[in-house]
């Protein structure tokens, strides 16, 4: 009854080739796409080594498992998930341990998987739907025998226990997945309410969330057809071909929601933030009888994620720049900052 993970052979090669120092552990991410019936893993990437002073931890009498830098692992996961194209996401973690630590590996994986999910999904602008799979996979590999143990946790439920899952290797799992693509014009204006002209997280989040809701609710055409109901995504492609097809997507929004107010909403703002420009988005969708609306959802989420990440980076830049120069702290007349 557990989930089935169809894993690309390239991932198998990668995992087998991981070098571990004797007695130490290696963590890493597994990325791919989930669907209600089955899951596909197409990428594995090891957590990079953190440059830090200090002796190897094992010599200080602490178990390498307890010493896993959770913060570092989750930060890596966030960076990687930002870079993944639409349709792909982090599906779980792998952990390589020496044989003597195998029995404690599951606990470590459980801690890590919940922490990672929490960190990655913080600040996400779209809500999970009922159909979204909330299971994350944990893969334990013994460094000596190369034996793997695969289990899943439902990250929606903090009390969930590990469930067994199938882990099968296959060739070319994603080689013929169609790719949806589109360029989206973004023009969002977000007022900064509140007394200071500092850009507050809350204002940005509220403003972007309104825009994200418009995108989520938008009408979507994929390859010229409506992507509404449960009909299959028709890519017109022979499943046996290895050539990847590109499907253009078009998005149509309705400007705003109507409410029953009889007067306008007027807010005194200390400033505003405009996000403008064109983003290029793409999303891959598995080719195991995918539904058109799931494909539409994937490209829409990529649009939202792309803009969200871009804005986060702009704001990080602004923050760094502001720290350097006190000029930007003046609030006389109007000042505009570009980045």
């Amino acid at each position: 009854m557990g989930r089935s993970y169809f894993v690309d052979e390239a991932v198998e090669e990668y995992l087998v080739g991981i070098q571990t120092a004797p007695g130490s552990c290696v963590t890493g991410l597994l990325a791919g796409q989930s669907s209600p019936q089955r899951d596909f893993v197409v990428l594995a990437v090891q957590t990079p080594h953190r440059e830090s002073e200090g002796q190897p931890k094992a010599s200080r009498g602490v178990s390498p498992l307890d010493d896993i830098d959770v913060e570092w692992v989750t930060e890596h996961a966030k960076q990687v998930s930002r870079m993944l194209p639409g349709g792909l996401s982090i599906l779980g973690l792998f952990l390589v341990t020496p044989p003597e630590l195998s029995k404690d590996a599951q606990n470590a994986l459980k801690r890590l998987i919940f922490a990672m999910d929490k960190y990655i999904t913080k600040g996400r602008l779209w809500e999970l739907s009922e159909e979204d799979v909330t299971d994350q996979v944990t893969l334990h590999i013994c460094s000596k025998t190369k034996k793997t143990v695969c289990k899943t946790f439902d990250v929606k439920d903090p009390k969930s226990s590990a469930k067994p899952a199938d882990w099968k290797y296959q060739t070319g799992v994603s080689s013929s997945w169609p790719m949806l693509s589109c360029s989206v014009e973004v023009d969002v204006q977000i007022p900064m309410t509140g007394s200071s002209s500092d850009i507050t997280d809350k204002c940005m989040k509220d403003g972007l969330r309104r825009w994200a809701k418009q995108i989520e609710a938008a009408c979507c055409l994929i390859n010229g057809r409506h992507a509404l109901d449960d009909s299959e995504l028709v890519s017109g492609q022979n499943p046996k071909t290895t050539h990847r097809q590109t499907l253009p997507a078009r998005i149509f929004v309705s400007d705003a929601e109507l409410d029953e107010r009889s007067s306008a909403l007027v807010q005194l703002c200390s400033g505003s933030v405009k996000v403008r420009g064109v983003v290029h988005c793409r999303a891959y969708i598995h080719n195991n009888k995918p539904k058109a609306r799931h494909a539409a959802q994937a490209i829409k989420r990529d649009i939202i994620n792309t803009v969200c990440s871009r804005v986060e980076m702009f704001l990080e830049d602004l923050l760094i720049n502001e720290g350097k120069s006190s000029l930007f702290r003046c609030t006389i007349a109007s000042t505009t900052n570009f980045c």
Partner: protein, 463 residues
Amino acid sequence: MLQCDFIFRLKGILEFACQLDNPNGVQSQSTISKSFQDLRSKVTSKNIVFTVCNSPVLIWPNTGFQSSVESLTEASACGDILQWIESDDGGSKKSSKKKDKKKSGPTVVNMKLLFEVTEPAGNTAPSLIRVSTQQHCVKMPLPLDCALSVTTDERLETVCTGLVEALNKQLADMEEVVLQYRKGSSFLVPQPFHFQLPEPAGLITVVYPAGVPDSQLQAVREDLHRKFELPCDRPYLRRANAFHFPDAAYKDGYLRNPHIHLNPPNIEDAKLYLVQGVYSYHHYMQDHVDDNGWGCAYRSLQTICSWFQQQGYVETAVPTHTQIQQALVDVGDKEPRFVGSRQWIGSIEVQAVLNQLLGVTSKIMFVSQGSELATKGRELANHFQTEGTPVMIGGGVLAHTILGVVWSENTGQIRFLILDPHYTGGEDLQTITDKGWCGWKGPEFWDQNAYYNLCLPQRPKTI
């Protein structure tokens, strides 16, 4: 009278947004106008799309007419669109034609306004611009609603161009209303209302400011009555007069004008004189009030009140039995213990309540025997021609509503269109018309020996 086969109705929401440095300053008007100008550019841009509700059809009206469906081109007649619309009953894509149903007016094609955010014109990389000026940020969703009446052979392309023009005009009208009723940073939402005026005006749209009652918009209506050459003594442009689209259900659940589903009797040399406008059918047992056996005159009075409300003469809701009884106590016609009782009322009480609650005067017609009613053809015909209001008639032990007559001036033959408040069932049009709860009756319908009083409500002279 011009026959129109279709009404294309386009609805959508455009967000009006602007930033005002000083809402009371002289600059603010031009800032507001600039924002409206931007919105007008938006609806004439290549990015707007019309989607036809319940269909896969998308139309790009500003790109030399493109549609998402190959068979619909610029040369297509607008009627061709029907084959793509899924009707609510069943999944068939064919338009359902019920041959035995009386034609209930034009077919409404509902469309929604959308904007494409893909296929952008430019390719500028995203940037974030921060403005640190204190400003008033104004946001207001504009409820756009445009309607066009067309014949079936009109080209679809022409319809779409017409709708884009209508959007533009509506935005201009909305700008006018917003500027006129703005007080500093307080903005009223401009709301469009459609009205079906006598030809040649036809279906027009007027934008009124939300929250400003009809009573304060008298001057606006006077201007429009002049412009459209409408009579100055009856309302055409109050919000209650707004056109009711044939495909829209009435939210309150009451049946409207059940009589239109009946065929008038075929009497030689006779003419038809009917109630004008719209009324609701009120009868026994409605609104969880069990008035079976005593409430018939109250129900007829409710039908009459519903007429005055829907023709725009009053804004008050149709009164309940209790409110009717209280009104009679207030005018001194009844003792306070009348309220909550099951006492009958007659035409005189109906006249008193119409005056007290609605400010409407009525004429009373007295007939000493039921058989005499057959001779009142001329009076009733005149009444329906000039006033056109429903008539309450009480006598014997029953009260009814007369909605019209078929009367021959030469032969004196007469039939009465009767709405019967004694019906105790649900709002089932089929039953009501089949079983004669709304039906044409002959002079033998009346108790030939009883005396009758009729209450003929008069239209107030107002717009």
